[in-house]
Every structure is written in structure tokens, then in C-alpha cells.
Amino acid sequence: MITAERKPFDEIIELVGDKKKILVAGCDTCVAICLTGGEKEAEILASELRIKAGQDGRAVEVEHTAAIRQCEWEYLDMIAEKVEAADVVLSLACGIGIQSMAEKFAPQIVVPAVNTNMLGMPQEHAVWLERCGACGECVIGETAGVCPVVRCSKSLMNGPCGGSHDGLCEVTTPQKEDIECAWALIWERLKAQGREELMYVNRPPKNWSKSSSGGPRKMVREEAKPV
């Protein structure tokens, strides 16, 4: 799923500025599952904003709502009235949801309350790990189901590099925790599958134009388009 983390409160306050009528809009899909931007979190942020306003002695009207999915027009219709009545919308959706909202309700000001960070897998309750880089050309069929694009710190197509030791990468997470070396994982899993020869395939440089380096992407499914 798409994961996101809430921005620091001071940054949110700065984005909202001196607007008097604020709508905090959550999204009940990905960001709700990663406990960052669902209706519950929208209600918490709205309460925080009211506390802050009360503390500063400012009269601010803060409401909260949530769309089932902020990234789809149809669901945005359901919250249209509240959005249009606000001076500013503080969206807790991922970058896609925030942009859908800004586009649909232009020129309404829609600002992000979160930083969208990755396509992650829940490892355990409240812990997510990056698993996909949406590179546009999946290679995990040859790498035993381990993505070297996001799980190798260098996105190497022919790993491992010299920084791999005892199955660990020389790089650590921002929380200073160890990262498993993707290529050590690939090797172990290929061995278990009896497909070690795939490790010796020389992969040419990846075509990054299929990723975001090729400009904004567009996907069309002609057969599914309405007639």
C-alpha cells in the first residue's frame, strides 16, 4: 500500500497560515491503514488545531471529514460541500489524493498534512517496509521475488556490491537499524529454488525512462474504456 507520515505540527501550521475555516480531510484507504491519515487521524489533527487556536486566542473553525478514497473523483463528490465551504483544505491523503482534491476543487487551496513516503508492506502491526519503487519494468521474476530496485540501497541490477557483509547492507535505515542486503537475500532464495544460474545473468542497465525519469507516466486501458 501507499504509506505516509504526518508532517511536523509547526509545518502544518505554517501551511495553513491565517486561514479561518479549515477542513481536515482524511482518506480512508491506504493512509488509514498505515494509521496516518484516516478519519480517526483527521479528527485528532482537527482537535490539535483547535487546541492551538484556543491557546493563541484565535477564532478558527476547524472541521474534519474523510473520503473513502481521495484519489477518485466519485468519492470526492461526497465531501464536495465541506471542501467548498472551507478557506483551506488540509489533506491527510497521499500525494495522489491531495492532487486529485486540488484539481477537482480548483482554485480551492489544498495543502498536505503528510509526507507520502513509500509503497510499503506491513511487516507487523505499525511497522512498514518499502517493497516497490513503481519502476515500470518489474524484474523480480529473475530475482527470486526480491526487488533490487528498492531493497538494494544502490538499486543494483548486478549485486551484491562490496558493502554486503553477513547478509547486511553497509547502509542503515534512518532509524539506524540494519538493512538486509537484497542481493544476499536473492542469492539465498535462488539457491533454495535451485535457480542459482540466475545470479550469473548479466543484466544490462535498467531503462529508467519507464520509471519517473521518463516524465509523468500515463496508463490507458483501451479495452476497458467506456464506449
Partner: protein, 192 residues
């Protein structure tokens, strides 16, 4: 020669945080009390004729594990000067881990309040058993004193009842409180 100097510094530091307490300030404190422990401990404190401040307003929960971040924030938002949750002793929760969840949520609210520039000490988590009437009275007394020293909640709003706001936020989660006749009066009043 160095020792007296250090002692002098310590004395100054120890005296510095003491604030001037306004004798007229009577804080409003919301207590989220677990039905299995703190609520019964309050009953016991009453039976034992122990004195504790009348500043605390209790809300009975089936377990502090039902307490969510928003419930604590709503109380603060409505002007509660202090809020605390009182759950079972760690390891003795009737629902196994409810009190541990409550502690985590209280800690999270402390972080949120710090971000907002409000003293995190205004919210707290306490543990006690149903047999601890004395502890209940002590906690109520000490926490009330703590809040008196902190002074009023900067977001106090006239005409808003933090107790009613917290109850409303809890919805059907809060258990009815037969002993609290004032709660019934408020409900009757609002029904008019």
C-alpha cells in the same frame, strides 16, 4: 570547598520550578477510570472516608484500553486543566493489555501536547488495583496539586464542560455513572 557550591546550585534548581500557585484556582480534572480497578478504588476511598480533592470528575470505562487519543484531546480542547487515566496494575488488566495500550496512547498525547506548546504533564497514566483506596486518594491529591502548580489550561473555554465533552467523545464507550447525580442533571438540562 567544591561541595557547598554544588549544594547551593542544587538548592537553586530545586526551588526554581516552584510556581506561584493561585489560591483561587480550582482546576477541572477529568479522570478516565477503569471499571475493574480505579473506579472501585474510588468507591473504597469513599468507604474509608478518605479525603481527596473535589476537582476530579470521573468517567467510568469498561477498560482503559477503550481510551483513545481523541478522547484525551477532546477533554483538553474543552478546557480540562488536567486529564488522567487510571487503569489496573500492569499485568493485571481484565482484558490482558488494555492498560498497556492506554499508557502508550497517553504517552502519544503527551508528545502531541508538547508539539502544541502545552505542558505534557497535564496528562498522565496511573495504575492501581481495586483494593488501593489510599492510592486513589493520593493520586487524586498529588495530580490536583501538580495541575494547580501548572496553572489553568491555556485553551479554557467559557461555557464548555470538559467532562461533558469527554463523555460525548466517548459516545457509548463510557459506562453510566449512577453515583454521579450531576451528570444526570446535565443530561436533563441539555434535553430541554
Amino acid at each position: 570547598m567544591a561541595e557547598p557550591a554544588v549544594a547551593a546550585v542544587e538548592t537553586v534548581e530545586a526551588e526554581a520550578p516552584k510556581k506561584v500557585v493561585d489560591p483561587d484556582f480550582e482546576p477541572e480534572i477529568i479522570v478516565f477510570a477503569c471499571h475493574y480497578c480505579a473506579y472501585a478504588a474510588a468507591d473504597l476511598a469513599g468507604s474509608m472516608r478518605l479525603q481527596y480533592p473535589s476537582n476530579i470528575r470521573m468517567i467510568k470505562l469498561p477498560c482503559t484500553g477503550k481510551l483513545e487519543v481523541i478522547h484525551l484531546l477532546r477533554a483538553i480542547e474543552a478546557g480540562a486543566d488536567g486529564v488522567y487515566a487510571a487503569g489496573c496494575m500492569e499485568g493485571e488488566c481484565h482484558y490482558l493489555k488494555g492498560n498497556l495500550w492506554a499508557r502508550k496512547r497517553v504517552d502519544h498525547v503527551k508528545d502531541l501536547l508538547a508539539e502544541l506548546g502545552i505542558e505534557p504533564e497535564r496528562v498522565e497514566m496511573f495504575n492501581m488495583s481495586s483494593a488501593m483506596g489510599v492510592k486513589f486518594a493520593e493520586v487524586a491529591t498529588e495530580f490536583t496539586q501538580r495541575i494547580k502548580e501548572l496553572g489553568p489550561n491555556p485553551v479554557r473555554r467559557e461555557g464548555v464542560s470538559p467532562h461533558a465533552a469527554a463523555r460525548e467523545a466517548l459516545g457509548g464507550v463510557a459506562l453510566p455513572d449512577e453515583a454521579d447525580s450531576s451528570a444526570a442533571t446535565v443530561e436533563e438540562g441539555s434535553a430541554e
